[in-house]
Subunit: 434 residues, 2 copies
Amino acid sequence: MTELFDAVDIIRTKRDKGTLSPEQIDWTVDAYTRGVIADEQMSALNMAILLNGMSRAEISRWTAAMIASGERMNFSSLRTPSGGVKATSDKHSTGGVGDKITLPLAPLVAVFGVAVPQLSGRGLGHTGGTLDKLESIPGWRADLSNEAMMAQLQDVGAVICAAGAGLAPADKKLYALRDVTGTVEAIPLIASSIMSKKIAEGTGSLVLDVKVGSGAFMKDATMARELAETMVALGKDAGVHTVALLTNMDTPLGLTAGNAIEVEESVEVLAGGGPEDVVELTVALAREMLAGAGIHDADPAAALKDGRAMDVWKRMIAAQGGDPDAALPVAKESEVIYAPADGVVVGLDALSVGVAAWRLGAGRARKEDVVQAGAGVRMHAKPGAMVRAGEPLMTLLTDTPERFERAKEALEHAVIIAPEGARPAQELILDRIS
Amino acid sequence: MTELFDAVDIIRTKRDKGTLSPEQIDWTVDAYTRGVIADEQMSALNMAILLNGMSRAEISRWTAAMIASGERMNFSSLRTPSGGVKATSDKHSTGGVGDKITLPLAPLVAVFGVAVPQLSGRGLGHTGGTLDKLESIPGWRADLSNEAMMAQLQDVGAVICAAGAGLAPADKKLYALRDVTGTVEAIPLIASSIMSKKIAEGTGSLVLDVKVGSGAFMKDATMARELAETMVALGKDAGVHTVALLTNMDTPLGLTAGNAIEVEESVEVLAGGGPEDVVELTVALAREMLAGAGIHDADPAAALKDGRAMDVWKRMIAAQGGDPDAALPVAKESEVIYAPADGVVVGLDALSVGVAAWRLGAGRARKEDVVQAGAGVRMHAKPGAMVRAGEPLMTLLTDTPERFERAKEALEHAVIIAPEGARPAQELILDRIS
C-alpha cells in the first residue's frame, strides 16, 4: 500500500515551525497506530511539537484523529424516569495529592438524575489513582463489561470503572512513548490525550479540574491556564459542553493521601462531614457538572448533608461487588511526625506529601507494581492551623516499615510553621474557564 | 548493572534548554551504543538538540565520546625518507555536485611527502560519493585492510578507501537514526559526526571544504559558517590542526556530474588541464593541507602541470587493483539539451544538475541501490559562457533511457541565460576559517 505522506517530511514541517494539514494529521495518527510511523519518528515529532507548539486547529484535528483511532461510547440509550434521554456528565482532574474528589462527586451528581460515567485510571508516580483508592474496598471491581456499565448507569446513575482498551488506542500507544521520551509535558499532547479519551467516552458535558501548584502536573499557573483553555476549546470543537476550574495544588486536598484512608475521608464527606476543602471542591464541581447537564436549581451541599449522596455511593459500590460497610484495610505500621515548634502552619507542600505517600507504598513506580491499600499519610494540621511543639503533624502509614526513612526524607521541608499571627494565603478555586 | 543516569532526565535537561554535564554526555553516547538508551529516546534528544542547540563544550565532549565509542587509527609508524615521522593531512567536503576534488587532491598533496589517508564514503541522494566515482575504474577496490592501507601510505603516500566499521560506531548508529527522524540538519550533530570520524582516523591536520549554496547540504551561508566554525573549534579541542574553506555550491564544480565522467575530468586536471574552478579549488585545498603539515614553500599548481601528481595518482590507483590507463565505462544512451536563446549563462543550478545526475542513475536513493558508472550530466557551458540558440548546453548520460524524462524535469529551470553583457557574479572560495 502506498502511504499518503512521508514521516520525515511531517517531522521536518513541525521542526521548522510549519503547520500540519488536516490530512497530514489524520495520516500521522493513523500511520502511528498501524506501526508505519516508527516510535523513533513519533518521538522526534513529539519533541518538535513540545518545543514548537501546535495551532488550535492542529490540536483539534489531532484530537479528532485520536478519537477516530478507536471506538466511541454512546449513552443515548439511557432513559430518565419520564422516558427522555438521560443527561450525562463527566469530570476529569489533571491529578493531585489527596485528590479523592471523584469518589463523593460521582454519586452526588447522580442524586439529581444525571448519569455519571467516570472512566478512571490507576496512579503512576506521586499522584494517586482513583481506581487504586476504590480497590481498597473489599470485593470492589474496576473492570466492567460495557453492558454492566450501561446497566449500572441506568439503575444507580454513577459508575467509576476502568476505561476499556478500545477507546483512543492511539493515545494509549502515544502516552507510553511520551512517558519514556521526556515529551509528557507538551500542552498540545496533554490536551489532546485527555480530551480524546473523554470525548470518545461519549459524555454530554465535561468539567475539568486543572490543578496548579507543587503537587500538580503543572507547577506554573500560566501553563495550567493554557492547558485549561486548550481543553475547553477542544471540547467546544467536539460539541461537548466543557468548563474548567483552575484549582490550587500547593497543599494536599483533605487530611489524607493514600488509598483506603482517602476512601474513609470520602465516606466522611458523603456522611455530611469531612474536611472543608474537600467539601468545597466537591460541591463546586458538582454544580458545574449539573449546570453542564442543564440542571441549575440543585443543591448538592444539601444532598451531602441529608444522606442522598451516601445512598447512591453505597449502591454504586455494591453494584461493582464491593461491601460499602466493610472495614477498610489498615496499615500494619505507623510513625508520627511532630511539630518542632509552636506557631501557625503556613505551608504544607503537596509534592512532598505525595512523594512520601508514594514511597510508603500507596503509589507505584512502575506499571506492574502493586500498591498497599493501607499506606499513606494522614495530616493532622493543614495550613491555618495552630500547633504546639510536640503535637503530631502527620502520621505515616505502611505495611513495610523500611519505607519510613525515605518517606521522612521527602517530608523534611514539607511543613512551614510561622510565628502566631501569620496567615497562609491559599484560595482553593483560582479561576473558572468556560 | 546500575546505570549512572536516566535517559528521560537527560532528554528533559536538553528539552528545557539546560546544559549536559561531561559525565552525562559520556554516558549518553555510551548507553546509546550499548542499547540502554532506546532509539525513540535518542531521537527525542536529537530533536531537542536540533531545536535548542548545544554549547561548544557540550559538542566537544559529545565528539570525544563518539570517538571513544570505537577504535582510533594511528599513523605514527609512517616514516619520511630521513627516518622522521611522516606528516599526515586529510580533507573533508560536506558534499556538493560535481565535487571530484578528492581525486586529484590526494595524489597532489602526496607529491610533497605528506601522507594522505582519505577515508571516504558512498553517495546517498543528489551528491555523489568519492568511492562510487573511483569504482568506475576497472579493477579498483575501495576496501583495504588496515595493513594494506598503511603500506600504501608509506609507499605511495596517498590512499582513498572505505572507512572501517570500527571507527566511531556510535556515529554510524546515530546517523542512521537521524536520517529517518528529521534530525540530520542539527549543526552540533553534523559537526560532531564529521569530526568524530576524522579525528578517529588519526590525521595530524585537516582541511574542511564547507559547501554553501543550492547544491550543498547547507543552503544558507550563516549556517554553513556556523558549521565551519564549530568544526574548526572541535579540531582545535582534539589537537588536530584544522582549517575550513567556505566554498560556493550554487553551481556544480567542473563540467561533469556523475562517476566515470568525473574520474575522466580529474585525470584531465592531473594532466595539467581541466576546468578552471576544479583546478583553483584543488590547488587552494592542497596549499591548506600542506600548510597544515608544516610545508609552506610548495607549489602544487606546478605539480599538476609537470606530471608529478599524475605519477602518484597512477601508483595510487594501481595499488588498489585499478588500471589507471584502462578505458572508463561509457553510458549506453545520451540526450542533449540545447540553449533556447542567445545570451550569457548567468546561472546553472547545482541542485538541479545533482538531482538530474542522480535520476539518470549516477546516485542511489537507498543504500542498497547500485550506481551506473557511465551515468551523469556533462555540462558544455558554465556561468559566464556565451551561448547561441540551438547550441548544446548539457548532455545527459544513462544506460536506462526511461530515466531521461525525470532528469529533464529536474533541469527545467536549471540554466538561466541573460542578454549579452550580463555578468554572473560567482566567487568560488567565499571565506577561510581557522
